[in-house]
């Protein structure tokens, strides 16, 4: 009988090759202490965190911590139950109320993760004979949700409005259609032309879902996301989000104005067949969401830090994923896997943590991804830039003149 692990041998070989080269292991880094949203201790040394998606720096907010401690003491460590059985506590309801208020929408549904929110929406909303039309660069949770359901799945070229329109025109009359978009695409941090895409999807009579995981808190007047900034709030049927980035906790959600939305609580299996979030998590999340609404200074600072890091790395000769800072994600392109691993190691030695994106996630690209935090000080940003330059010299990464 074959060993069922045999199919992973190429990956095992690739990983062992990387380790044999004496470089550090980018996928098993352990943070021994977390000093703040932007500082941690690894192997006894302090590093600057530049790859956490902790955009708004809410993880150590005193009001957030206090809310969590109170809920932990009053409601216990866990719920031990599904949202539809014994797992909806006062805190889950409060969290959904905070989301309805933040998005100014009628309905909000909190899942245990953003991954599950996408699984739940995609697998439940479109059935046999319906179509889901998604951007080719969609997050894994969107693809996996599609694979769980029975709809026909159609991809269009990343951020290509004309390709979306062409595909929508080919869908047979009478089929239900959901178009799935993301505000910010997390691999290189580019944003979607939502105004044009939503117009095309609406003209075709489709429903529209936008995943705003990487935009909540700092796009649009109220920080709702790229869909708010693009002025298409009235045309979007579902907004999907996560607590694991700007909110600073863990969890996922969908908000909507659709009058029949609540039925999803019965039909979205990743909502029904898993335990709900712990009381402390929902209490922290609700407190964080309420503060994000008014976090204008943090928003402004995050944008300033992102633009400054982008501009400086570009001027230093690094090749970046976007022409300008379109979001708080700054992706640095590496020529190959080996240089990428060397550069990542050199950055850790310098005391900077960024994400090394596994090549499976971005076929054809080797990326080191930075994400900024509203709590990064100007001095930290200057330090990050200086360390990037030194690390490039150590790693032998050629920079453009």
């Amino acid at each position: 009988m074959p060993d069922l692990f045999d199919k992973f041998q190429p990956l095992i070989d690739q990983y062992e090759g990387l380790m044999a080269s004496g470089l550090r292991d980018p996928f098993h880094l352990q943070m021994d202490e977390i000093l703040s949203p932007t500082r941690a201790v690894v192997n006894g040394r302090e590093i600057i965190l530049v790859g956490t998606y902790n955009y708004m720096g809410m993880t150590f907010d005193p009001d957030v911590i206090e809310a969590g401690q109170k809920a932990l003491a009053e409601f216990g460590a866990g719920t031990t139950g599904s949202r539809v059985l014994n797992g909806t506590f006062q805190g889950h309801a409060e969290c959904e109320a905070a989301l309805r208020d933040f998005y100014d929408m009628e309905h909000a549904m909190v899942f245990s993760t953003g991954y599950q929110a996408n699984l739940g929406l995609m697998s439940a909303i479109a059935g046999r004979g319906d179509y889901i039309v998604l951007d080719a660069d969609s997050h894994a949770s969107i693809y996996d949700g599609c694979a769980m359901g029975n709809a026909d799945i159609v991809r269009f070229k990343h951020n290509d409005v004309a390709d979306l329109e062409k595909r929508l025109k080919r869908i047979p009359d009478g089929a239900g259609v959901l178009v799935v978009l993301e505000g910010v695409y997390s691999m290189v941090g580019d944003i979607a032309p939502l105004k044009e895409m939503v117009a095309v999807a609406k003209a075709a009579g489709a429903m529209i879902a936008v995943d705003e995981a990487h935009a909540m808190g700092f796009f649009g007047e109220h920080g709702r996301g790229v869909f708010e900034q693009a002025g298409v709030e009235d045309d979007v049927d579902f907004v999907v989000g996560t607590f694991s980035k700007s909110v600073g906790t863990v969890g996922g959600f969908i908000v909507s104005n659709h009058p029949k939305f609540e039925v999803l609580r019965f039909v979205a299996r990743p909502y029904v067949y898993t335990a709900s979030l712990p009381p402390a998590v929902v209490a922290c999340s609700a407190a964080s969401i309420r503060k994000l609404k008014y976090a204008h200074n943090k928003r402004a600072h995050l944008w300033e830090a992102s633009r400054h890091l982008h501009k400086s790395l570009r001027e230093a000769g690094f090749t970046l994923g976007t022409e300008t800072a379109e979001s708080a994600i700054i992706a640095v392109k590496m020529p190959d896997q080996e240089t990428s691993a060397k550069m990542w190691t050199a950055l850790i030695e310098e005391g900077v943590y960024v994400n090394m994106v596994p090549p499976q996630a971005t076929p054809g690209l080797h990326l080191l991804r930075c994400s900024l935090c509203a709590d990064h000080t100007s001095a930290q940003v200057e330090e990050i830039i200086a360390r990037f330059k030194r690390a490039a010299a150590t790693a032998g990464l050629p920079l453009k003149a």
């Binding site: 179509y131 080719a136 599609c146 694979a147 709809a151 026909d152 799945i153 159609v154 991809r155 070229k157 595909r167 080919r170 869908i171 076929p363 054809g364």
Partner: protein, 81 residues
């Protein structure tokens, strides 16, 4: 009405530029093993076939389309539905 006899030779023409391994192209040629196409290339090739016949080949159908002949059958079936 499209028939497999007309679709198959046209598909082979469309696939030829993707045939970097120089494999013999016929109804039994497989995409994964004979042509060794990666996921990005599969997406480009699928788009070209979709444009040629002004149709959609849903992503969920791809695992069942192992050979060029399977694609020809699918095109005929979808276009004549």
């Amino acid at each position: 009405m499209l028939t497999k006899d007309t679709v198959l030779p046209r598909l082979i023409e469309i696939i030829t530029p993707f045939n970097r391994a120089g494999t013999d192209l016929n109804a039994k040629t497989t995409f994964a093993t004979d042509l060794e196409l990666d996921s990005l290339t599969v997406m480009d090739l699928t788009a070209e076939i979709e444009d040629e016949y002004d149709m959609l080949i849903p992503v969920n159908m791809l695992p069942d389309l192992e050979t060029i002949g399977d694609v020809a059958d699918a095109v005929v079936k979808i276009k004549n539905a």
